[in-house]
Amino acid sequence: MTSMDKTRPGLASGSGSASGEGLDARIVVDRGSFRLDVLLRAAPGDVVALLGPNGAGKTTALRALAGLTPLDGGHLRLDGAELEHTPPESRPVGVVFQDYLLFPHLTALDNVAFGPRCQGATKAEARATAAGWLERMGLAEQAGAKPRRLSGGQAQRVALARALATRPRLLLLDEPLAALDARTRLDVRAQLRRHLADFEAVAVLVTHDPLDAMVLADRLVVVEHGRVVQEGPPQDIARRPRTDYIAQLVGLNLYPGRADGHTVTLDTGPAITTTEDLTGPVFVAFPPSAVTLHRHRPTGSSARNLWRCEVAGLETHGDRIRANLTGELPLAADLTTVAAAELELRPGAEVWATVKATQTHAYPA
Amino acid sequence: MTTRSARRTRRARQVAGASAAALLALSACSSADGSASSGSPASTSASEKPSGPVTVFAAASLKEGFTALGKEFEERNPGTKVTFSFSGSDSLAASITGGAPADVFASASSRTMKIVTDAKDAAGTPATFVRNQLEIATLPGNPDRITSLGDLARPGLKVVLCDKEVPCGAAAQRTLDAGGLKLTPVSYEQDVKGALTKVELKEADAALVYRTDVKAAGDRVEGVEFPESAEAVNDYPIVLLKDAPNADAAKAFIDLVRSAAGRQVLTAAGFLQP
């Protein structure tokens, strides 16, 4: 398998397990009131992102894959081999930890050489391997440096090199970019994307940042409260979110309802007119920028999606104002600062919101 | 020689009985003893009954005998309270010269007493009230059949002595010299109780300790007397201290210790008459 596979969109989950290649896991971990139960399948070459809010169980899932947290149920197969009873040191799994956990008493070179050394290589062989990896990461000059002398981006690459130097069949990355500042993050994200594209086995990364997930992964698995709530290619998830969490992440207003032709009756009462012709349970989504606000009830407007709302809060979003509204239909609306001033928007003010049907998007639930 | 130790044990039992009788006698004729004790010229008033607290610094080996005498003293003189501090004579002497508030000092050697008298902390001249001498302490039943001082030099036998710096060690050295014996012990203990403990715990086969210690250890050790012990007899002097907070009661206590009945109690504990 090569990185070419990755460009093929919608490489379906489980496609690799037919031949026994890749990852096939059901991770069940019981923590008293919290129960994690997620199904993960990936073919070699896949980069899967576990996306979810804090406390959703992403890191627990990662630790379970690495063998650092025991499974309370389910199974774990990698390239056809059962791993659930294999101790972590015997699993062909590499981990890049959130804060890298580079061994502070070893140089960058010896950090990377640590894995090959544990796998039985001589000191010289291990160092040669490590030097090769550092070279690939563009870190040849930092080989002799102790971790505390490395910048955040360099440390991240050393951590990646260290994980890859054991030639893992499963690479796990825990919030790989969270420890970096915004500027470094951009560079490192691009580099990481390149390295992951070159990686021939399964990579699973955990993140709470949708941008990281969408740039780095070719498939997202969204986890909330220990469950998978949605999975698929990034663009699908961005277009058709199925939970409020994802809708918020991708910046959409999302409502569940029942469709009957072009009219969707929302579970909360009001109806939305859409262009799609559907029947049965659906989601309706529209971006905040599709919302138009009026000081008074518009009379000549052709918009049929009209709701009376009240301003709950205002915040600046780049060069625009994001208005959070409550009322008949709770929604987020984006408008320019000028428009906000003209409308005299302030918390508690009454406004009328309209959305054109062509701006909405309905899809089966 | 084995008969000697048997005889000794029998005698010990007799003495113990006698001491109980002596205590009874003490309490019976307390008034007579009290008047007899007023012989000291320093005494201010013989008729005045002693009262209040008395603090006695006494050598550790006196513990059993003095505790009994202290109780007796309190019964004879209601209103008195005798407090003892039993320790090594050296450290007691150091405390006294360092200014510790005490009424009476009873030491286990003339040398330690001299420290106190040299420092001019004593009132009057110390008087020897008992004597103590060494005995060989062996394991119960004397499995190594040690019968003389010379037996201690037997190879393979683990013997402990007191260090030469402490009184029992100095005494041991004198007896060994008197017997013309060269002895390599496994250890020089820091005090006589340390030496005795080693035998009690069966870590050593024999130790040179005081008669009184052998007696106090009961049947955990067996004592063996030897003639050379006469060469190193320890005198136990007692003295009233100059800065005694309660000199009258202290004098009365010293008189009790030196009385015939008092000596009888101490003899029962293994001490010798001066």
């Binding site: 972590p88 699993r91 590499g94 981990v95 894995g115 | 820091q190 340390g194 403990t197 715990l201 069966k202």
Partner: protein
């Protein structure tokens, strides 16, 4: 009087701790309720040491210090304290790891037991050792009958007694360091293929080295000054079991001046070793 000044500086390094306080920053106004007790405490700690120096018989000192007995006792003290520290390291570091990194029923209880020798009077510790490892001890009788080994009254016995008393210092110190150290480094090592032992040896041990060193110094100092358990368990015989503290104690009985001189030697040796180690750590880190 150059000597007191020198020792004051050396004592300062002792109280400052060998590992911390590298940089001292000037801060405005130390609160009086803290400053006064602090100074009283400092004086309280230093005064006895100063008194020792003031009352040292400097004139007779050279004669006392060059006697073969003193050198014999000093050599034995250093040998035994160092060996005891080695024993503490070999047994104590794994014990500390067990207490800090594993879960087993009764762990808290075991931890309390480990610290027991800290509060036990050393003489009681010595008696306990006799009851366990003596000629007639619970284990000692088998050592004697099977291997012909008896520990009391031997130099090995001194090492045993010192290790018994000093080990808790090391275990507590190392356990504290281990608890403060991030256990995830061990996990990281394991994901790289290291067994738990390899992870401990190649990652954890280097990380906690300063704590281990501090614990070893504490244990060494405790072993060097050990008196009660030593004389109770190993007895007192010059050249074999008579360490410096025993020599000091016995000299005190008859010749306080000699005892003061010996104490001074012990003090100087401790300060020299601690200062030497401190310098080494400073340059290493």
């Amino acid at each position: 009087m150059t000597e007191p000044d020198k020792s004051r500086a050396a004592v300062g390094t002792l109280t400052g701790g060998p590992l911390r306080g590298r940089v001292r920053r000037h801060r405005p106004a130390v609160p009086i309720p803290l400053l006064v007790p602090a100074l009283v405490g400092l004086v309280f700690l230093l005064l006895p040491l100063l008194a020792l120096l003031v009352r040292t018989p400097w004139r007779s000192l050279p004669g006392q210090l060059t006697s073969p007995e003193v050198w014999q006792a000093l050599r034995l003290s250093l040998l035994c304290a160092t060996t005891a520290t080695a024993v503490c390291l070999v047994l104590g570091v794994p014990l500390a790891w067990l207490l800090a990194r594993t879960e087993f029923p009764g762990r808290g209880f075991v931890r309390a037991l480990v610290t027991l020798p800290l509060v036990l009077p050393p003489v009681v510790g010595g008696v306990a050792l006799l009851l366990a490892l003596g000629r007639n001890g619970v284990v000692g009788q088998w050592l004697d009958s099977w291997f012909g080994v008896t520990l009391p009254f031997t130099t090995a016995g001194v090492v045993v007694a010192e290790a018994f008393v000093a080990m808790p210092f090391l275990v507590i110190s190392v356990e504290g360091t281990l608890r403060a150290a991030d256990p995830r480094y061990e996990e990281a090592a394991m994901t790289l293929g290291a067994s738990r032992f390899t992870a401990f040896r190649r990652v954890t041990l280097p990380l906690i080295a300063p704590g281990v060193a501090a614990g070893a110094v504490l244990a060494w100092a405790r072993a060097l000054g050990e008196f009660g358990a030593t004389i109770t368990f190993a007895g007192n015989f010059p050249g074999r079991t008579q360490t410096m503290p025993l020599t000091v104690y016995l000299a005190l009985q008859s010749d306080p001046a000699a005892a003061i001189a010996l104490s001074l030697v012990l003090l100087a040796v401790s300060i020299a070793v601690l200062a030497g180690l401190r310098d080494r750590w400073m340059t290493a880190s």
